[in-house]
Subunit: 328 residues, 4 copies
Amino acid sequence: MTGLGLASAALGGIAAPGTAGAADTPIGEKWWPSRWGPDDQAGASNHMTPEKTLAAVQQIRTGKVHSLGRVYERDMPLFGERVFALRTPGMPTGGTFGDNKIIWNDEFLATEIGQVGTQFDGLGHIGVEAGAPGEQTRRRLYNGVTMAEAASPYGLKKLGVENVKPFFTPGLLVDVMGLKGGMLEAGTEVTLADLLAALERQGLSAEAIAPGDVVMVRTGWGLLWKEDNARYNNGAPGIGMEAARYLAERQVSLVGADTWGVEVVPNPDSNQVFPVHQELLVRHGIYLQENLDFESLAADGTWQFAYVFAPLPIKGATGSPGNPLAVT
Amino acid sequence: MTGLGLASAALGGIAAPGTAGAADTPIGEKWWPSRWGPDDQAGASNHMTPEKTLAAVQQIRTGKVHSLGRVYERDMPLFGERVFALRTPGMPTGGTFGDNKIIWNDEFLATEIGQVGTQFDGLGHIGVEAGAPGEQTRRRLYNGVTMAEAASPYGLKKLGVENVKPFFTPGLLVDVMGLKGGMLEAGTEVTLADLLAALERQGLSAEAIAPGDVVMVRTGWGLLWKEDNARYNNGAPGIGMEAARYLAERQVSLVGADTWGVEVVPNPDSNQVFPVHQELLVRHGIYLQENLDFESLAADGTWQFAYVFAPLPIKGATGSPGNPLAVT
Amino acid sequence: MTGLGLASAALGGIAAPGTAGAADTPIGEKWWPSRWGPDDQAGASNHMTPEKTLAAVQQIRTGKVHSLGRVYERDMPLFGERVFALRTPGMPTGGTFGDNKIIWNDEFLATEIGQVGTQFDGLGHIGVEAGAPGEQTRRRLYNGVTMAEAASPYGLKKLGVENVKPFFTPGLLVDVMGLKGGMLEAGTEVTLADLLAALERQGLSAEAIAPGDVVMVRTGWGLLWKEDNARYNNGAPGIGMEAARYLAERQVSLVGADTWGVEVVPNPDSNQVFPVHQELLVRHGIYLQENLDFESLAADGTWQFAYVFAPLPIKGATGSPGNPLAVT
Amino acid sequence: MTGLGLASAALGGIAAPGTAGAADTPIGEKWWPSRWGPDDQAGASNHMTPEKTLAAVQQIRTGKVHSLGRVYERDMPLFGERVFALRTPGMPTGGTFGDNKIIWNDEFLATEIGQVGTQFDGLGHIGVEAGAPGEQTRRRLYNGVTMAEAASPYGLKKLGVENVKPFFTPGLLVDVMGLKGGMLEAGTEVTLADLLAALERQGLSAEAIAPGDVVMVRTGWGLLWKEDNARYNNGAPGIGMEAARYLAERQVSLVGADTWGVEVVPNPDSNQVFPVHQELLVRHGIYLQENLDFESLAADGTWQFAYVFAPLPIKGATGSPGNPLAVT
């Protein structure tokens, strides 16, 4: 796997698991304190600066706004035991009041709000058990925060999604589906070579990826959304550790995909479960965004855009729903 | 009230309630079909075009991104019987799995999702009972849609917030607090004269408001947020019908405020309950956004900005939470 | 169908739908005021008196307590769009506190609490639209209560389940499955003749059914519970209008079954949807209990018992979950 | 505190915390395996036998049924961060269908279902941290079950309330309020001497308490329910460790009270937080029932009754709501 060598080289001092002497956690060397300091809770959203905004604005040429988010509804694919239950009380909920005879309606929603539909994975979402089973003091998240510090029944005490800075930054869509000539299959790893080849095919270069940029990976898997939910949830194509390490090296702020997990599932190494989530979120503070819809953007053949997304600042939440925009 | 005369003049053909022969609903003349046709469900978000995006981009000079949204948390002010209950299952929710010993966390949220905290009122939120009490066929919303057509226990069948087009448009902050020299009191109406005077004081003119623009009104009431929730909820300063009609005449797409209802509460006409909601949402399809935080923006003294907001496309919801951005 | 004649005769003055001059609602003659007066909200639970308790006690011979209720869990059959989502926050939810190092756990449940699993249908659950579509003032429930009077977004204002008196009364299990030699099929109506024959086979007589008694109908359908949820929900055997009218004539307080609807689904008259619900709940204030488990009781061959059930007094709820007991 | 000596004597072999050599947990000697074996999950509900049922039946003389449960509603006192949010979708939720024009209503409830209002504390509710902070493998519940074994985000895997056997057993109301001549104050401990004196005053003896019986303690605190919720929640009178140990010695199956915690809060030993919960639930598998209403029973002056209560068998829940009955 030359790609792995490439990525390893790129990672410089960061040892791969198993490297003699270095590894002290199940995912290799300790990853804290973060590059933004030991108290940082914003991760790669720290890249968001006025300069990034202005760089993103340079990508806006026609003024067209593409929604990358999907509609939240009860018949969308849901991971595991999660539910999405919306109820509209009363119909109307309020009224009739006044000579103007006003009525109003509300809705009541019960759901895993940050982990259903189009979702943004925050830094409190993923961790590593670095000690004995069940030891909250050695279950660690981004920046080495322990579950003992973060966990709470009413919302995380640390690394909640309210700490994330809004994104207004250049974005890039890597059309791997276009490269491969069709939807990738579940379990198909998008390699670094695939990413580079797709970019080349699109007339772009990995050199165009600057720190803080957003990279989106189109696999075609999203075509199954609401068409075949069972298949959609049963594995997915996506990037593996090689591409993840490369993107981390490029210091992107977020990686998104038209799949439920961004990364390849099952992982080619059958002993690894969602390792890319750990590599990006835990080790590097790089965010993931899932269940995106790139079809409008791809139809335009526009691969660069201003990516705009403000996570819902729900105190102590592990993630956020939302409709990220690609402005071209 | 000279302002009312002014506004009435401005409204031209739109009859006030009670005008002989014209009124056939509790809020005056019928308001449908909408200017965007009898089937429209997007209201004033129809103003969102590439041209508006490009106009908004012209407002981006420094690249600074201001969050206008507030953090969602259990001790924020809540209207009426609404609740906000976030729970984090398991801690962790998933894991430990794999040699990489991954764990993950979710959160479960039960709330009036579109009507708590910083909120965007959609077109299904407000209506008028235009017939006998309880007649769903004559309870009407935007574009004349009846509750009989829209109501459903599992989300609105029409006018759900998923129909709204994302906002990327010029925005204007009207600093009425600055004009008045401090926080306005509950029940204080922001008149058209106030708006015009505030704009003049800011070196701006109402002429600067183009169709599709967003207008934000700073009253200072937001200073009470989480400082005195009981007082915050007990009435509010805000625009009245006069200013609302003027803004509708200017064809704005959205009016926001640092209060829970945008409009003055209680209304100076004690027989009217939230009439501005009806005027803007029902009659004109103009959106409201509430519980905003303008303090960062005001501190900069920057009154014009690109307003960027993508409502959560929850199928059949009456509104949306979110963190609208003011980019300067 | 001699049974129908019998039942019709028994019903005396109560006209069948279509009877000249009498019918003024879609289900025939008006059914209010109730036999317990125009303000009654307790329906057939008014039969619960100390005398009934003492009569029930007479059925207790061995002291054996049978649970008729099923476990509430996420993989039980659910009707329509209902959900059952239980989450355990924090693990633990509270603690650690004190030298005694206490911790505690809670659970958070979001569900249609009165209408999932083993369920007791209250008087606010079922109604009849007796006017034009959508007229809340002519949608009527038990005792003629209108939806305009009862409906509210935060719980019914009338006929909430908190008005029901706890049941401690003689109960009777009618073993129609035993009579037929196996599980009845979906759409199979349990006729009055079936009920009478089953009772005879069990050495009992319909004469044994006194006002306020509870009658349970075993169809065998419950054997599909969690074995084949799709089939379980797709129709059911059960009593039809004939048996319902007979049981109403006997003035039972509650009818239960090992199905999700007590009554035969689909109804043999394809123009009728759940008419037994209306006959019993709306017209007579007789309660229904669904998704029961009679297998323990049937295995003992004990057909008479003290039925004990106290609905959860949730203010304004349409029904109640619970574990009814059959004490023998 | 002579009472403590009395209770310690009564406890026989069970060492108090600090006893040399014996204590290996923060609450003293290890308490597992339980008297019902190492796999037991039913605790003191194992006392429920046909014989207990028949003994309870002996208490039924008049047939009067008293509800000891309170109505569940949004303005009841709630502990800590718990919520109670009921919504009625659609109004109606279903219909109109069929020539019979049926409609139906549901309700959607989001709440800490087993830990709000009148509540039954199950064996998964309370535990002890017996190891280092956050070690799930050494947080122990009844019968020594660890949090590592029981905890799960979707309901407890062990000790869920579905394992509890329904109660039909003799009950006894101890009228401490009557003894003291009025409502006890928050922080007032009901001592063993108080219990014995109250029983004597009622013409009863502690000798009357047999294994499996239920003991209810009336403090009068329930008079504050919905009258002064803030005061109601701010501490409570109740039994202390002395009385708890005595009741455990008597092998009762459940202890209930007209307070939110059964036990005295704050505990006279300010280093102890809810120690009675641990003594009864964790050490002995004896259930607690809280927020009961004894006023109807006390008004009758009837102190002995058949106690009937079937917990809602919610899989993996820590407790249960419900309306326990006292039949006299």
